[in-house]
């Protein structure tokens, strides 16, 4: 299990090298990568603020819950903060389990919780200035399924 909160860019494929390899008790791995999307062609950057200390603790608690609930064999979370440009990976979740349903459920659970319960705040920077991204009701609602 590993949680990383960092400003440095990362490459999802490089981070997955060796994940869940060399074991015989894993039937399924799932990875999710979130990237900076630019819908309008106006986005200059995404500035991500976080709460040092609480961020790591909150994500570690989510990972511990996912590991216990779906008996994960391995789990990784990487989440960046700071200044990101369009196309860059923001964060990644990887889960390894005996069966596919567990690996998928754990990855989706972690994503839903990271969205609404990990202390990050995104600000979209355009030539016109900066706008804090608003939390969506649908993201809050997504938690009710767990």
């Amino acid at each position: 299990m590993r949680v990383q909160v960092q400003t440095a860019p990362f490459d999802p494929a490089t981070e997955l090298a060796g994940f869940a390899r060399g074991r015989h008790d894993i039937g399924a791995t799932v990875s999710f990568t979130g990237l900076v999307r630019d819908d309008t062609g106006q986005l200059v950057a995404l500035d991500i603020e976080h709460y040092p200390g609480m961020t790591e603790a909150a994500i570690t608690a989510m990972v511990d819950e996912a590991v216990a609930r779906w008996q994960l064999v391995d789990c990784r979370v990487i989440h960046r903060f700071g200044h990101l440009t369009p196309g860059e990976p923001i964060m990644m979740v990887a889960t390894a389990a005996r069966h596919r349903a567990e690996a998928f459920a754990a990855a989706e659970f972690l994503m839903d919780y990271l969205k609404s319960r990990a202390p990050f705040w995104k600000k979209e920077i355009t030539d016109q200035g900066g706008d804090w991204v608003k939390a969506k009701d649908s993201d809050e609602d997504a938690l009710t399924r767990w």
Partner: protein, 82 residues
């Protein structure tokens, strides 16, 4: 004495990332009332606490949770991680 942290637009409106506050407020809600009474920028930041979240010693809590023994309070808008 309690450390108070502000994030995202709460930080921007108050113009401060953190400060040490002398208070005997029993709950975050009471602390918010004290701060909002100080200056318009605090009043603006805390105008609608239903749009805000609070963490006590880095754990999410409600605005009527007890502040006794808490060293660090943080106010911020709903998170947008992931």
């Amino acid at each position: 004495m309690i450390e108070v942290l502000y994030f995202a637009w709460v930080r921007e409106r108050i113009g401060l990332a953190r400060e040490t506050v002398e208070t005997s407020a029993a709950t975050p809600a009471a602390l918010v009332a004290e701060l909002a009474a100080r200056e318009p920028r605090y009043a603006a930041a805390f105008a609608d606490t239903s749009a805000l979240r609070v963490a006590l010693d880095q754990t999410l809590a409600s605005f009527d949770a007890p502040l006794a023994g808490v060293r660090e309070v943080a106010f911020f808008p709903p998170m947008t991680g992931g």
